[in-house]
Amino acid sequence: MLSEGQGGRHETLAWLVGPKGLMLLLFGCIAVVYGATLSTEVLGGDAGEFATLAGGPGVAHPPGYPLYTMLLRLMDFVPIASPAARASFLTAVMGMGAAVALFRAAIAWGAEPLAAGVAVVIWAFAPLTWSLSTSPEVFVLNAALCVCMVAVAGPLSPHRGTLRAGLLGLLAGLALSNHHSAVLMAPIGFYGLVVGIRESVAPLRALGVALGAALAGLLPYALLASQAASPEALWVWGDFTALEGLAHHILRADFGTLQLGIRADKVDAWTQVGALTIALMEQTYWIGFIAFLGGTVWLLSARNRFAQMPPRRAVVFLVVTLVCVGPLFVSRLNLSPVGVAARVVERFYLLPLTIGSVFVALGFEGWFRRLELRNDVQFSILGALITLCAAMSFQQVREHHRPDVSRYVENVLVSVPARAVIMGTEDHRLFGFLYHQAALGERADVQYLDPTMMHYDWYRHRMAERTGLTLPEPEGETVSTVAIADAVLSAGRPLFVTNIFSSGIPKNFATYPAGLLYRVLPRGSSPPHPLEVERLNAELFDHYWLPEYPAVVGSWAGLVAQDYVRPWEQLASAFSAIGMGDRAEGCRHRADALRPTPAPTFRRRLTR
């Protein structure tokens, strides 16, 4: 017989290893791990733009992601580190919300807490989810809202009738206010809506409530015009002076509405689907993928269906949804999943990974159902799985969160002379400089200008206003970088380019590597002797932050690392050409020390 104290301890222990303790362990661990690994710097891609919008009002690139950017504005009152850290904090909250929603969705589709918990662990600690949940990106909020729809549409969802229809409408509207890919959730959304309407005593009213709720969910788009008109806006992509501009932005007309980006690679659909499949296997440590396949086959084919098993018809709708958000959508992407573009594309894998995790839970349910596991065993399984998954993914998350892009921008901004104009391309530079200059107020005297953005009238006019220069209009598809360079140099401003993005500059002007940039000299000038260029670069590199260990090829940090390698490689060539072999060898050594390393394992196959 237990004494009073022993009985109390026993009860506490029983509660701890019970279903509630299981959830506490699960979501507590996710909170601790996400909180401890928040990215606090500008990373590549769009992260810099969203980090900027955590520092003040503005409008992000099309379609504007008004729900996410509105929530970013809430982060002003979180007194921690930088706007980038605050944006990551918000995203981590969304990541935790998505984990809770996935748990509820798995339960609503017939899984028990242990199987749902295992699926949540595999999902939450997958390198992709973890990285996107702890850096400023919109994809986790999208996954959270979409998996909420799956939870509400689930056969065992506690929400019935009009409430189910209304909630699905509201979630659909909010999801579309965040990311357009939510439209691919239509099959399961409509299924849930029809079920809700049929459950309701007043079907027409239920439909009306759903439509009204969907419209309410779309209202955040009204924010775009309001933010664009703010005199304190830090960054506004697009022209909102007319209503037409708002429609243009919402429909992503700048990118070609149904295309992923401006760049249009010719990619075979099967290559995209293959890359998605490999990524999903890798992300779920294979075991999740096997459970996913097992769960799907079991749900569709099982003859002896247990009481909580979802009806086959419902499963078919969920499978169709998964096909839409996964292979079907991915096969339409116009960016090749190779090199750093793979980092852009793989963000779109998060939604299929999330929806597929419901099947992962049901696959594990099929196995666990045969075993009658005690509570303490269930608790131990989950604890061990969390530790294992976190340990396996940590290195990839660390690599993703490398501060190299942010440090690159800092290095450039501290080294350029007053009133310099920097011409550059690529998102990580555009948004990196935007964050440091607009959100942090660094080097207001320096102007960063992206020639590829000069196709947009609003950007060209804004740059002309800021620089006080007459900038050339685009001629058809091309923008004359030579004319821009002439305008800058004739105004007496020092000109730099981040990379050689057009042959016009080196053909018409003398250039030489100046640290992470090229210095462009006025027409008729000669570049300095290589020895002088070497001295200048050595001095600059002495003041630069340099990576502690080499970046990986195919990552944003790997892309940035090329800029550190470039001056030394060019100096080596220049010294070789004039017969200074020793100097050339020294420069080659410096280049090699900074060179990114090949990606490990599977990823190498994708980035080759």
Partner: protein
Amino acid sequence: MVEPRDERPWGPGKIARGLGLVALLLVGLFAVAAGRAAVSCRRELHAAEGFFAAGDLASAVLSARHAAEWYVPLDSCSEAGLSLLDEVAAKADATGQGDLALVALRSARTSIMLTRGLYTPHAERLPRLHAEIAARMAAERRLSGKAKPDDQARYLAQLDGYEARRPNPWLALAGSLGFVGWLGAVAGFAWFGLRADGSFVWQRAWGWAGTALVLFCLWLTLVRFA
């Protein structure tokens, strides 16, 4: 077909418990993030002090700047990073490295700008930093032979202007809370304004719909002027 249920899946008690759990998780997440900031700040500061003692001023600037960026309320570590940047600037001046001193001062300013939220931590340092940076930038222009008489005033206006152009964080916060309130009111409308059979509880429905409309307008208006 599943029979509609009259009762709500979540009663007020369960909603309150759910909100409490969310608040607890948010506080937990913030506590972990704040703890990490405090630890990272000390690590960077320790490294910066080591570099400073060894005379490697360029590395000291980078580490001290990163220490200053890890601001958490009630933790003095970030301020120690700013003070170290001042010391580095002074030592750089004394050793004839004016350009490095400028980098140190700019780093201190950036660290302060970076940590702004509802209030600006260490804002009292900004006027002196702005004045020194503007003076040094004007001197740099003089050395290049392209100076204009109003250079220093222009640079100072640029630096000060940034702070003056700052959005009003309190209005932004009020507007943002209007947004969250709007979302809550829409959910409240669905939860309390509707019966399970789809019919309206008119009095409650009007109340929640009106609240949602007011909060929506408040959100748009405040964020516009924030």
